[in-house]
Structure formats: structure tokens, C-alpha cells
Symmetry: C2
Subunit: 223 residues, 2 copies
């Protein structure tokens, strides 16, 4: 609407990311985005080839926010930092979660990060094959965890409990029969989650360390 200066790819992408953060990815519409830039919808096409390329550009800006690991220093600590940094970036930009691992048209920031991670692992003594595996395991976990977090809407799993009860209820099962039909689910829902709310950062680091420790044991092995 208001801030009409000269358009540019930079400005378009920045505004698009901000809009997606504010109102979700489905709010990022060519018309809507152009409005926010004080421009007409078609003007965007002179700075971005189309909607798909716009999304790609947005994703690469998220990649650029991720702290790459340094080749000097303990590989495990570096990988840990990279993982936490990635989670934080995905936390700031949840709309990016399903889009970052699509290897088609990787942006420059994506490439730089890949390079840094591979270098860190190789210099720590992993073979090429093992480095690829180690990278894949970590990323699968990180992005998968982010997927779960996004699905939970950043609340604890209390909402899940609520919805689950409702769901079970409308399956013409009484609410206290939840415990009869799904006793273990009920145990988790009632006992664990509702109380101390399942700290998400801790849970993430727990799984991360399981993986990192597992990889440590395999470093330098045959495989």
C-alpha cells in the first residue's frame, strides 16, 4: 500500500518473506505482495520470473540465515550449532519447512551451506560415503522435527489431546472411553504432556545428541 519506492528483487523478496512470516505462506499472493509494496501485481514479474521463482528466492533467504559450521573446531560442536541454527531459522519461517530440501534449483546460500557442512565432516575424518550419510541423517532429523513442530502449531501437544478427545468423541465413543480404546495414548496425553508441557528445544537436542553420538562411534570405521 503505502511504501512505494523503486522496486527491486531484493525488496520484493524481503517483503515476501515478511508477509509469509506475518500471515502465512498462503497469504503470499502476487496481488497481495504487490499491494504491500505499493505496486501493481504485474510489476513483480520484472524482478522475479514467476511465483515459483519467488518461492525459491524466499527459501534461499532462509538458508542465508543459517550459521554454517566452521571447519576448525570440534565437528560435533559445529554440527550441533548448525542444527540449532537451522531449527531457529525454520522456527522464524515455518512456511519454509516443506520447501528447503527440494534439491531442484538450489540457491547460492543453499550451496554455500552444503559446502561448509561437507567440508566440516570430511575434515573430521569421515569418508565421502560416511559424510553423505551423516549429512543425510542429520538433515532428515532436523527437517522432520521442524515438520512436527509446524504441525503442532507451536503449542504444546495439549491441542492434540483436545482434538484427539473430540475426534474420539465424535467416533461415537464416550470421552472416558478414550482410556479404554487408547490407554497408552491417554497415558501420554493426560500424564506427560499436559503437565510439564514437553519442552520442545530440549526434545530436539535430545534426539540430535542420540544421532551425533551414534555418528561419533562410526567415524573412521569401515562402512
Amino acid at each position: 500500500m503505502a511504501p512505494s519506492a523503486r522496486l527491486s528483487r531484493e525488496r520484493v523478496l524481503r517483503e515476501a518473506v515478511a508477509l509469509a512470516d506475518r500471515e502465512g505462506i498462503e497469504a503470499v499472493t502476487m496481488r497481495r505482495l504487490a499491494d504491500g509494496l505499493g505496486a501493481g501485481a504485474m510489476s513483480l514479474y520484472h524482478h522475479v520470473p514467476g511465483k515459483d521463482a519467488l518461492l525459491d528466492g524466499m527459501v534461499d533467504r532462509v538458508f542465508a540465515e543459517i550459521e554454517p559450521p566452521s571447519p576448525n573446531g570440534d565437528w560435533k560442536a559445529e554440527m550441533r550449532r548448525r542444527a540449532l541454527s537451522t531449527r531457529e531459522a525454520l522456527h522464524r519461517h515455518p512456511w519454509a519447512v516443506g520447501r528447503m530440501e527440494s534439491t531442484k534449483t538450489p540457491g547460492p546460500a543453499d550451496l554455500r551451506l552444503h559446502e561448509a557442512v561437507l567440508r566440516c565432516l570430511r575434515e573430521a575424518g569421515f569418508s565421502v560415503e560416511m559424510a553423505v550419510q551423516a549429512y543425510s541423517v542429520q538433515d532428515a532429523y532436523i527437517y522432520g522435527y521442524a515438520l512436527q513442530e509446524r504441525g503442532m502449531g507451536y503449542a504444546t501437544q495439549e491441542q492434540f489431546a483436545e482434538t484427539a478427545s473430540q475426534r474420539v468423541e465424535q467416533m461415537d465413543t464416550a470421552i472416558e472411553e478414550l482410556a479404554r480404546a487408547y490407554p497408552y495414548l491417554a497415558e501420554v496425553v493426560a500424564g506427560h504432556v499436559a503437565q510439564h508441557g514437553h519442552n520442545l528445544s530440549e526434545a530436539f537436542e535430545f534426539g540430535l545428541d542420540v544421532i551425533l553420538d551414534g555418528l561419533e562411534r562410526l567415524r573412521g570405521d569401515g562402512v
Copy 2:
């Protein structure tokens, strides 16, 4: 088009899944789906509340294809089977990947599976907290891995290599300077992947075992 019998929720969902498998999730349109059923678009609304509910129903059909773990038998073997079964289901229905871990409105098959997994873990000696953690770690990995696989388009990473080169090229960097700018990436791309093509099933099981073994060590511990 052709097969016009009586419509039903069952038939609608089955056709929707088949259509998504055949031509991708973006082909699943109310009109397109109705055509395939030999019906008009608006007829679907008498068997499904709307597009969102349709997607939810499709996802729960995928959940129903996953083999739940049995409470009898080695927990690790059961979890392993469950994980492989999940990967296979996601492989058959790649469009489901980003949608299955959304805890909003879980379907009956989703609930049954959750129950079975939690039961298996609890009876193997995991505390409630540890069972939740263990579940979370596994699912994050499984879904994250599926995400990566989907992004690769089920080819090997050769395509990535190709696209990466192109990308680097159009960043006004000569093609053989790829190795200069991203030596470790080039090492992977040229050396490892192109040759024996990075067997995806093996890679999945590798990471899975890293996690499962890590969890084994933690079973029954304090935490």
C-alpha cells in the same frame, strides 16, 4: 468420465488417492476428481465437507496402510518394521509427506497407529517421557527422510549435480570452477553419487539403526 456408479465417501477418497498417486496432489481438483468419478463437481460435497476434509481423509487412508508394531516381540525389530512400512507408504503416496504429521484432526487410523507405537515402547520398558521422546525422534527422522526423497524426485542425486552445476554456471562461474568454489560439494557430486548412485533404502536403514541403537542404550536409564 466413464465409471458412473453411485457416489460414496469411500469411492471419492479412493479415487482421490489414486489420482494424487498418478498425477500429483496438484491434480486433485474438485472438478477433476468429479470427472474421474463420472459426476459433477458439486456432488462431492455431499460425501466430503470440503477440500480440506478431503485431504484429511486421503491422509488417513495412507495411515491405514502402515503396519502397526505388535506389542509382542523385540521392540527394536517392531519399530524397524513400522519405520520401513511407513517409508514404503510414503513412497507410494509422496503427496502425503508434508501432511501426515499435522496433529490437527487426526483420523482413526492415525490414532490407532499412535496407540500401537506407544504401547510397544512402553511395554519394552521405556518410561512415559522416554517413549514420547523415542517416538518423536523416530518420526522426525522417518518423515524428514521422506521429505528428502520427495525433493529428489526419486532419482538419485545426479539431478542435483546437474542442477547445481547449471546454477553455479549461471552465477557467472565457469563450470570447472565449481571444484574451486565448492570443492567438497564437487567431491560428493562427482565421486560418490554419480557412481554407485547412493542406494536410498540402505541409506534410510543406516540412519534408522543409528537412532534405534542410540535409543537402546537409553532404555531404562534415568533421564
